[in-house]
């Protein structure tokens, strides 16, 4: 090559990374569209090319599982002892004693407020008529949490003591939390057999990572001088750890215990799908299946109240150091015991029948009446959301627009026109300097025309690689492509796209709605006063409960699942948006105001750019929440990976369950890394 030919190439302006990536994606999409008739393999990955991954994984796992089965069965036998003890104590004790004990604990930890919250909460549980079921659930939690605390705590300490394994351990914890909850129920089912032990072990596995994470974080944050002071006082490593570092990290570790409790409760309730244990989660499932929504709602409410009481109780254990008068504690305990004795004397030792069951029936009836009266409206909402929103996103305008739905038939001429208009508008945007917006518009139109579930696989993979390249660099791009390629050849690709479509739609809805609510909360203190407790509650409620109200109004189907996902996943978006917007440094705002910016200009030009990294982190959380809920929502009717995982559980098909779970985890992992990459890039750009 001669020097004269190199010169012009060197002087050519180089495209920024983002534009190059967008063009590459566009180009791939265009090729796929043009060639779809000649090379159908470019759109749909041929089945002949896939590996029987689910069978392979199933066979492999079966071998491993049956090898370790005897050990696990022994474990199961061992675990059944503490479980039956906890059960005997909680279910066997007369209810006044239990309420007295918990109220006393509430007083000791948080004074009058906590005591009354606990008393009212447990009182409601008693009156709901679900006392025994709730105590069954509580006994599962009370065994699984110590297990999780012990396991998570040991892992955390191990990571602290052996820095070399730390990175690997953190990655494992990430994976444990990304793999959908239902997915590891299936192998556990095979290992432990039907029964409550599966729920117990699953919830311990699910609850251990937050504990480990908080222990690691807490130990890491202990003031270095405190560590040095303990060394210089002549403490051995063991003494340093147990006399100084762990107590000094106590607050963070208690936050871990709080998260551990909540995770365990959530999982114990989800594990009810396996059945075999008469707990409160099972009650919800049962009544939901019988379409007794009033009762399901009541049982769901019991779970919510339970969750709130446990959360606030353990939360104030972590946050407040002040402990309250012991005399009152003993008094409350004594009152409980006296109540128990009195109850025994009157001979009515069982928990009372629910006084709310009549109310539940009434709710059920009025709900029936409501849905009957407004059925047309509800159906209208549902069908229009499906026809004009979800369906085109899923299968594309070219298939969703039918005389039956939109009133006319989509033709290929319309597609051509749509593309022509989009390309013109895109060029127009590019001409005015907004290159990325132009390319984005054309890509978006292409996606809507084709439908997410029908997207050609090269387009998805190249697009993801391009995003990953922009977000972080070559390494993430290669990693994402490799992981998606794995899903592609495993034969789960179509289902993965369906999952991507539903979670994608929910995430988009959450970004719009959550962003708007976050913005509102940032500008109006009153709005935040109202929204904040709602957010708190939505984050405390176990996933499962979200299904109840959507099911009540919109029956089984994709739209209900969509709503449930949105309700759960919108919270981080709201929180992070608000937090990002209100944490703009005051002097920056003063500088903007003194430069003559209007409040709105300050918002768009100063606060929003400053908040961008935080909002992107919120988006990241929203995506992870959406994926987590997607699997749970399979209970009320979604297609895709979630459904496969749920079906696999029913059929005890380990291969399908684990591979679909892994595929789901891959999607979540890639989305997580992309969002984090963008957030990191923004933060760096702002010099934060």
């Amino acid at each position: 090559m001669s020097a004269s030919r190199e010169l012009p190439a060197a002087s050519m302006p180089r495209l920024p990374r983002g534009q190059l990536a967008a063009l590459l994606t566009l180009f791939t999409g265009a090729i796929c569209l043009l060639l779809q008739d000649y090379a159908p393999w470019m759109v749909r990955f041929p089945e002949a090319w896939t590996l029987p991954a689910t069978e392979l994984v199933g066979a492999g796992l079966d071998a491993v599982l049956s090898a370790i089965k005897p050990v696990m069965r022994a474990w199961s036998w061992l675990l059944s002892f503490p479980m039956s003890w906890a059960n005997a104590v909680l279910v066997g004790s007369p209810w006044p004693l239990i309420i007295g004990a918990f109220t006393a604990a509430g007083w000791y930890i948080g004074g009058f407020r906590m005591a009354s919250l606990t008393f009212l909460g447990f009182g409601f549980v008693l009156l709901s008529g679900y006392w025994n079921e709730s105590m069954n659930t509580l006994s599962l939690v009370s065994v699984s949490v110590p297990l999780a605390v012990l396991a998570g705590g040991s892992l955390g300490i191990l990571a602290n003591e052996v820095p070399r394994i730390r990175a690997a351990l953190l990655a494992t914890l990430d994976a444990m939390q990304t793999i959908p909850t239902f997915a590891y129920l299936t192998p556990l089912l095979l290992l432990f057999g039907f029964g409550p032990v599966v729920g117990l072990v699953a919830s311990a596995i699910y609850a251990a990572p937050p504990m480990a994470r908080n222990v690691i974080l807490g130990l890491e944050r202990v003031d270095p001088e405190v560590k040095e002071a303990s060394i210089m006082s002549g403490a051995s490593r063991w003494q340093q750890l147990f006399l100084v570092e762990i107590p000094a990290a106590g607050q963070q570790i208690m936050v871990g215990v709080n998260q551990c409790l909540m995770a365990s409760l959530s999982m114990v309730i989800i594990a009810a799908v396996i059945g075999g244990f008469n707990d409160i989660g099972w009650e919800v499932l049962l009544t939901m299946r019988k379409a007794q929504f009033g009762q399901a709602f009541l049982a769901g409410l019991v779970i919510v109240i339970f969750a709130i009481v446990i959360d606030r109780l353990s939360g104030s254990l972590a946050l407040e150091r002040k402990r309250h008068d012991r005399r009152v504690t003993w008094g409350l305990l004594l009152a409980g015991a006296v109540g128990a004795v009195l109850l025994a004397l009157t001979g009515a030792d069982a928990a009372p029948e629910g006084v709310f069951s009549a109310a539940a029936v009434a709710v059920d009836d009025s709900l029936g009446a409501f849905t009957a009266a407004h059925g047309a409206t509800l159906d209208g909402i549902k069908t229009s959301a499906m026809f004009y929103g979800l369906l085109p996103l899923r299968i594309g305008l070219d298939q969703a627009v039918l005389p039956f739905t939109w009133g006319f038939q989509w033709t290929s001429a319309m597609s051509l026109w749509l593309f022509a208009v989009a390309i013109l508008a895109g060029l127009g945007l590019a001409a005015t300097g907004r290159h990325m917006a132009g390319a984005g518009l054309v890509i978006a139109v292409g996606v809507v025309e084709t439908g997410i579930a029908e997207l050609p696989w090269p387009f998805v993979i190249v697009g993801t690689m391009a995003l990953a390249w922009v977000a972080q660099g070559t390494r993430l791009a290669v990693l994402s492509a490799a992981l998606l390629g794995l899903v592609l050849i495993s034969g789960l690709w179509d289902r993965a796209l369906l999952s991507l479509y539903l979670s994608g739609a929910a995430v988009v809805a959450c970004v719009v709605v959550g962003g708007a609510i976050g913005l509102l909360s940032a500008v109006s203190g009153i709005a935040w006063m109202i929204i904040r407790p709602i957010c708190d509650m939505l984050q405390t409620i176990p996933l499962f409960v979200f299904l109840i109200p959507t099911l009540m109004f919109f029956q089984i189907g994709e739209f209900s699942a969509f709503l449930a996902i949105c309700a759960y996943a919108v919270v981080p978006m709201i929180r992070y948006t608000r937090h990002g917007l209100v944490s703009t440094p005051p002097e920056m705002l003063e500088a903007a105001t003194s430069s003559g910016a209007t409040p709105w200009q300050t918002m768009t030009d100063v606060r929003m750019p400053y908040a961008a990294p935080t909002i992107l982190l919120g988006l990241n959380q929203t995506i992870l929440y959406a994926f987590a809920m997607l699997v749970i929502a399979a209970l009320i009717g979604t297609t895709g990976l979630g459904q496969s995982i749920y079906l696999a559980l029913g059929q005890a098909d380990v291969g399908l369950g684990v591979s679909a779970g892994a595929a789901m985890a891959i999607l979540a992992f890639v989305a997580d890394r992309l969002a984090q990459g963008f957030a990191e890039e923004r933060r760096k750009a702002l010099g934060l």
Binding site: E228, S233, G234
Partner: protein
């Protein structure tokens, strides 16, 4: 030691064996710093050459060839700007970080060769340390914090609580034994830190910028109390500070550090009157410019020249104030005590030249 010659490093009392002796101490940071240092050292040259070669390879030499000896009962201050390596040096001596090379002995014992268990033993019985941000254990009360070295040494609860009563009283915390660190002010917290470092009856006392995090008024008060404690206990002390005034006030001898190197070791008077280079001179500059030296130091007591009695100086006036008072005079000015008795005279020229000499 070859490397330690020619620095004017003399002990106050040469007769005794030094309580602490540090020779050729290096602290190099980077992956596998030890072998990188050995390679750089084999190539020869001065400490600066070695550090330069290490820096080119991406290593940071936080302490370079530190050499000094501290006599028993001496108060040795290490002073330097932040990042000069003074805290790292102290951490090397106390083995909170492992030095890359060199020799440290405390009361005749080779500390760098001591086993882990022996080190723990030494820290329990002989070495006490005070930290800049106190390093108090947040979950322990004052008395438990102070008694911690005794607790880890295996002493029973009642015994150790009895034993630390005197120390708590000495640092002025009597009556606050049950308080938690979060309930104390900064000055009180550091009193706890001091008491804890003394609980093990240490004979060697390390203080790492103990008063830097405190308000000026509290700082001065604690400095005075520290001198009282020191007079009572007669421990060997290594004291780190970045404040020249503090160093001059407290020290028997001062070591001045820059970029990991000790550039001068000397008594406070040495440092002020004979700075070895501009860096040290720059430090001394702010301090002595008439603000710390008193009229008494240049007064001539037996001067029979006719003194100008009108402005009337006092011996405890600073040179600055004195200069302002007798600016217009060319002849000696009289100095009186509080009772109005003539003590001597001061020549305004002497004031001017004393101020000039500092520059």
């Amino acid at each position: 030691m070859e490397t330690c010659r020619g620095r004017g490093d003399t002990l106050i009392s040469m007769a005794e064996q030094p309580a602490i002796s540090v020779a050729g101490l290096w602290q190099v940071f980077g992956s596998d710093a030890a072998s990188a240092f050995r390679r750089a050292q084999n190539d020869g040259g001065s400490a600066r050459d070695i550090a330069g070669r290490l820096e080119n390879q991406g290593y940071i030499s936080a302490v370079r060839d530190a050499c000094f000896e501290v006599a028993e009962g001496e108060l040795f201050v290490i002073m330097g700007l932040s990042g000069s390596g003074k805290s790292t040096l102290l951490r090397g001596i106390s083995r909170l970080v492992e030095p890359t090379a060199g020799h440290v002995s405390i009361e005749g014992e080779d500390v760098l060769a001591a086993s882990k268990a022996r080190m723990t033993e030494l820290r329990r019985s002989r070495i006490g340390m005070v930290f800049q941000h106190f390093g108090l254990f947040p979950h322990m009360s004052v008395i438990d914090n102070v008694a911690f070295p005794l607790k880890v040494g295996g002493m029973g609860r009642r015994e150790r609580h009895d034993k630390v009563q005197d120390i708590i009283e000495m640092v002025g915390l009597k009556g606050r034994e049950g308080a938690y660190p979060r309930e104390l002010s900064g000055g009180q917290r550091q009193r706890v830190g001091i008491a804890r470092s003394l609980a093990g009856d240490c004979s060697v006392w390390f203080l790492d910028e103990p008063f830097s995090a405190l308000d000026p008024l509290i700082r001065r008060q604690l400095q005075d109390e520290f001198l009282d404690i020191r007079a009572r206990l007669n421990t060997t002390i290594v004291f780190i500070t970045h404040d020249i005034a503090e160093a001059l006030k407290l020290a028997d001898r001062i070591a001045i550090m820059r970029d990991g190197e000790i550039v001068q070791i000397g008594t406070p008077a040495d440092i002020v009157l004979h700075p070895v280079d501009d860096y040290v001179r720059e430090f001394a500059r702010d301090v002595v410019r008439g603000r710390h030296a008193k009229v008494g130091s240049i007064m001539r007591a037996d001067d029979d020249r006719a003194a100008n009695g009108t402005p009337g100086l006092r011996p405890d006036m600073t040179l600055e104030d004195a200069l302002a008072t007798c600016m217009a005079h060319y002849e000696p000015v009289a100095v009186y005590d509080d009772g109005g008795n003539l003590l001597g005279t001061v020549d305004p020229q002497d004031i001017a030249s004393a101020l000039k000499a500092d520059r």
